[in-house]
């Protein structure tokens, strides 16, 4: 069996809480974070979102940033979550500490705010000119924590966070890094809300993953990061879980839609199981991608059936709590997977009433306690990017 890479710290901020404890309490009490947009300025107040009800000003104050800082909202959320992860792991940041962050639109919130000003040649907020680079948001966070070594950004749409975790784990295994902070961040923007709206895949009610009557996703925002460390560097530190498997494949079917049989998802899960060196029967819980669009949930179900045939383990989509946080989703759900392992609980899939006619697929709808040794987490994105991660207990 594969040794894997140790997780020594986690940090998360989402619509269901400002830290890991708050997120966990929401998950076990079935408290979702879906509401009308209040902080995001948009005409689409009818579209429910998973919004974090903390202003940029408060976040900046909490991080003790100077007044003329150039943090995007994604950077603010990211730094907030990294702080928790670093504190928990008592991480000493040095030259051999890397930072890998996934983000889909990075600093789009500031780009859309200042686009017209910049078009008119106004230089007042020119410190945000480079915010359109996803790497800009990543560097702000790295700078804040004094990370000067390996810093990188992955932007594979909704699988970015999961791919960042995968790269971090691989770099530790390859001996390229001793410690690395990995995860993802994305904030709500007019750009993404209107983009998904133009694709007609946003629901005007709370999203219903895997329900026969699901009618689209809720967009969310959030950030989550894990501290990964090489085993020889642990020196007795508490280990929260192990990253034991990862797989990445491309659906190569359509720019946005998933293939009917979920080929990319199937291949990603298959590779993750192979890296972990376990069979599909070992998986105790699957935190699905489960966006609640017609297309994703049926394709993902098909892929799950192909991997697990009749022995499907417990399955749920926590996007019914947080909304779809895009690049952060894979990282948020990694944290939830680790919480599931630690507490031996399967978190419920909210808003589920009727199984899909085609598959009869039943997610877990009430908090369930049971021994859990392996959790699989799926993240799929536009461009056919599919990534699966497997987490296990320390020594499991």
């Amino acid at each position: 069996m594969n040794k894997g890479v140790a997780v020594t710290g986690i940090g998360v901020i989402s619509a269901i809480g400002n830290n890991t404890g708050e997120n966990y309490r929401s998950l076990i009490s079935g408290k979702h974070g879906i509401s009308s947009p209040e902080i995001l300025e948009t005409i689409h107040k009818n579209l429910p979102v998973g919004e974090i009800k903390i202003s940029n000003e408060s976040l900046a104050e909490d991080l003790k940033l100077p007044k003329n800082h150039s943090f995007t909202r994604a950077a603010l959320l990211g730094a907030f979550a990294v702080k928790e992860a670093v504190t928990q792991s008592s991480l000493k940041i040095d030259n051999e500490t890397g930072f890998i962050s996934g983000t889909s639109v990075g600093g789009m919130d500031t780009t859309e705010t200042y686009f017209k000003d910049f078009t008119q040649g106004k230089t007042e907020n020119s410190r945000y000119v480079r915010a359109q680079h996803p790497g800009f948001t990543t560097e702000k966070i790295a700078e804040h924590f004094g990370i000067t070594g390996f810093v990188s950004t992955i932007s594979t749409a909704c699988s970015s966070g999961a791919n960042a975790i995968m790269l971090g784990a691989r770099m530790i295994k390859a001996g390229k890094l001793k410690r690395v902070i990995v995860g993802g961040t994305d904030c709500l923007t007019k750009f993404t809300l209107n983009g998904f709206n133009s694709l007609m895949i946003l629901s005007d009610e709370q999203c219903k993953p895997f329900d026969e009557n699901r009618n689209g996703l809720n967009l969310g925002e959030g950030a989550a990061y894990l501290v990964l460390e090489a085993e020889e560097e642990l020196k007795g530190k508490p280990v929260l879980g192990i990253i034991s498997g990862y797989g990445n494949a491309n659906d190569a079917f359509h720019q946005t839609a998933s293939s009917e049989n979920g080929e990319g998802a199937f291949l990603a899960m298959q590779k993750a199981l192979k890296i972990a060196g376990i069979s599909s029967e070992s998986i105790d819980y699957i935190n699905t991608h489960g966006t609640a669009t017609r297309n994703n949930d049926s394709a993902e179900t098909e892929a799950l059936k192909r991997i697990f045939s009749k022995n499907l383990p417990d399955v749920s989509s926590t996007k019914s709590f947080t909304g779809h946080t895009l690049a952060a989703a894979g990282a948020l759900e990694a944290v939830y997977s680790l919480l599931s392992l630690q507490n031996e609980q399967v978190f419920p899939n909210l808003n589920f009433s009727y199984p899909m006619k085609t598959s009869g697929f039943m997610p877990v709808t009430k908090l369930k306690e049971k021994p859990i040794n392996y959790v699989l987490s799926n993240s799929f994105g536009f461009g056919g990017n599919c990534t699966s991660l497997i987490f296990s207990k320390n020594g499991g």
């Binding site: 133009s198 694709l199 007609m200 359509h254 720019q255 946005t256 839609a257």
Partner: protein, 85 residues
């Protein structure tokens, strides 16, 4: 062929970037999707916006498009029956 037919062909060519095509290249009964003109689900979403923008017809479910965007003939009939502008 009515003016609406030609108008539709022109806007489809423009909206969907069918650069090499001429309205005369699209026949009225030719299937727009699949084996005919070869449009796909992204084009369908573009056409939904075109219906709203040009003819004041608002579709809320993308699957409705499947019955309307069958051919230029079918689209023209639907527009005549439902247009608000």
């Amino acid at each position: 062929m009515t003016n609406l037919h030609t108008e539709l062909k022109e806007s489809i060519i423009e909206q969907l970037n069918l650069e090499d095509m001429d309205p005369a290249d699209i026949s009225n009964d030719e299937p727009l999707f699949g084996d005919g003109l070869g449009l796909d689900s992204i084009d369908a979403l573009e056409l939904i916006v075109l219906l709203e923008k040009d003819y004041g017809i608002k579709l809320t479910d993308p699957s409705q498009g499947k019955e309307i965007f069958v051919s230029i003939d079918r689209m023209a009939t639907y527009i005549e029956e439902n247009r608000t502008k």
